[in-house]
């Protein structure tokens, strides 16, 4: 079962609460057809109209409903950014955005369907919770948790996954402990397995989180020594600001790895792009070696 499947099932359950409304722009509309048949007024498909999708979410929230807005990541977050800024944030209301097609999940579709900057873009706004699950089993509890709140949250679903699920990993969760003072590697979401493989024979502590916003800065301060390595499945450096602020009073070195900024204009599959962006185990290993063993 994919993250998307888990989302569709879990969102269907969440509709038991009469406050919940699912807002779609054609993407996944077929999957939500049974839920729409049960709750015709609370599964809204506006057609291929992303500005309206977010505006509708804002209006629903103004009446006290809890919108769950779902589409493909670039259309959900980037296309209607001003609606997200004004129709939600400026109105003082929240919504749950659930994206599929993270970074280069559909690499062969090309640039139009790639959205590695989604988390960085939402990070320009105040008060957002961002969840990046690393395994399909993490999706249901995360969705239920954010739907119960009133603020704005983004669930970044991917076709990529770690072998194991960590359902309670909003705060940094140590997966591998190399002892006090060891370099700390923080892996966000589905890049954990590659990161663990990359440092398998190095004394590096590895911590996992599926909640980059708000980032667990207290946990970071408790775990970090001098060297910190961030591995994120979206735009490289997205969390650099947060880590730098959290450790501003301490001498430290930071390596921030993630998806590169350049448009590669190459197709292939996600694994190819992992390699090209240095996010496969071998690429991460090269970057970590260069950082920890400077020439």
């Amino acid at each position: 079962m994919t993250m998307r499947d888990r989302f569709v099932t879990s969102a269907g359950e969440v509709l038991a609460d009469p406050r919940s409304v699912i807002v779609l722009a054609d993407i996944s509309a077929d999957a939500f057809a049974p839920a729409a048949a049960r709750h015709p007024d609370r599964v809204v498909n506006v057609g291929i109209r992303e500005q309206l999708m977010i505006g509708v979410a804002g209006g629903l929230a103004l009446t006290g409903q809890r919108p769950i807005v779902h589409s493909y990541a670039p259309f959900l977050v980037e296309r209607a950014y001003e609606q997200i800024k004004l129709d939600l944030g400026h109105q003082g209301v929240g919504a749950v955005l659930v994206g599929i097609g993270a970074s280069y999940d559909r690499a062969s579709a090309g640039r139009t369907h790639l959205a590695p900057a989604d988390v960085a873009l939402l990070d320009t706004l105040d008060g957002w919770t961002v969840h990046v699950p690393g395994h399909p089993d993490e999706v249901r509890p995360l969705l239920r948790d954010v739907v119960c709140g009133t603020g704005s949250a983004y669930l970044r679903l991917s076709t990529r996954s770690n072998a194991e699920a960590y359902p309670e990993a909003g705060d940094l969760r140590v997966v591998r402990d190399a002892g006090p003072g060891a370099p700390l590697l923080v892996a966000v979401g589905p890049v954990l397995d590659a990161a663990l493989a990359a440092v398998a024979d190095r004394p590096v502590t590895v911590a996992f989180t599926h909640r980059p916003r708000p980032f667990d800065t207290a946990g970071l301060r408790a775990l970090a020594g001098t060297e910190v390595i961030l591995v994120e499945p979206y735009l490289a450096g997205t969390s650099t600001r947060v880590v730098a602020e959290a450790l501003a009073d301490r001498p430290h070195r930071l390596l921030a790895l993630g998806v590169g900024r350049a448009e590669l204009r190459r197709y292939g599959g996600p694994e190819d792009h992992d390699r090209w962006h240095g996010l496969d185990a071998a690429g991460l290993r090269r970057s970590v070696d260069a950082f920890l063993d400077p020439a």
């Binding site: 809204v44 057609g47 505006g55 804002g58 209006g59 103004l62 009446t63 006290g64 001003e82 109105q91």
Partner: protein
């Protein structure tokens, strides 16, 4: 029924104006605002949080001076707030902020946001089974240039969103115009429409109450070009 006289309103507007020059759009919107607040909207200062109130969403947020004057005239905000509009301690910006001004349903200013929010509000009321309250969204003809409006117009028409009324104050300010009239953009999508003299209060009242509860309704309030 409480009504606001033109003299009262002019005095309040003068307090907002504080010697500055207003654009023509301030005056072109005044009549429709007066008719809405005096004769149409079922909302009072006591019911601004009542889930069954009518909603008025000012989408063309720059038409704010008359809006503030009306809100003061009807007791939503203290009259003395008008004296320092836009000042560092003021709650009244050049565009309205719903978190700062009682009775203001949406913060607006960037064109093309009100109708989408209005569609969502209408859907929320419908999901809650509230058949009584109605959602009114005020736009300008130039604001219709924004494509987001056309997403909302098409969807609301296709789904028969019967608790929604759009009001377009048409002062001929759209750069490339609306050949065939602004209303035709709505009616082709299944809305009912009335185009009336935007200065004629009785005609406005008839148009603003002319919806059939099955389809969304648009009132085009025509005023002189550039007003």
């Amino acid at each position: 029924m409480t009504t606001t006289t033109a003299t009262e309103l002019a005095a309040l507007l003068d307090r907002v104006r504080a010697g500055r020059d207003f654009g023509a759009n301030v005056y072109s919107t005044l009549d429709v605002l007066q008719v809405l607040y005096d004769r149409v909207l079922r909302v009072t200062p006591a019911t601004v949080d009542d889930p069954d109130r009518d909603r008025f969403l000012l989408s063309k947020g720059h038409a704010v001076a008359g809006y503030y004057a009306l809100l003061a005239a009807r007791g939503f905000i203290p009259v003395d707030w008008l004296d320092d509009q836009g000042g560092p301690g003021s709650r009244l910006g050049d565009h309205p902020d719903r978190l700062l001004v009682p009775g203001v349903e949406i913060g607006s200013g960037s064109l093309g946001h009100g109708l989408g929010l209005g569609v969502g509000t209408a859907l929320g009321l419908r999901a809650q089974g509230r058949a009584d309250p109605r959602v009114y969204v005020l736009l300008g003809d130039a604001e219709l240039d924004e494509g987001s409006n056309h997403e909302a117009i098409a969807y609301a028409g296709a789904t028969g969103l019967g608790n929604l009324t759009a009001i377009v104050v048409d002062n001929g300010s759209a750069t490339h115009g609306w050949p065939g009239g602004a209303a035709s953009r709505f009616t082709v999508n299944g809305w009912t429409a009335d185009t009336v003299d935007g200065r004629d209060h009785d005609a406005l009242h008839t148009a603003l109450t002319g919806h059939d509860h099955h389809r969304p309704h648009v009132v085009v309030a025509a005023v002189a070009d550039g007003e």
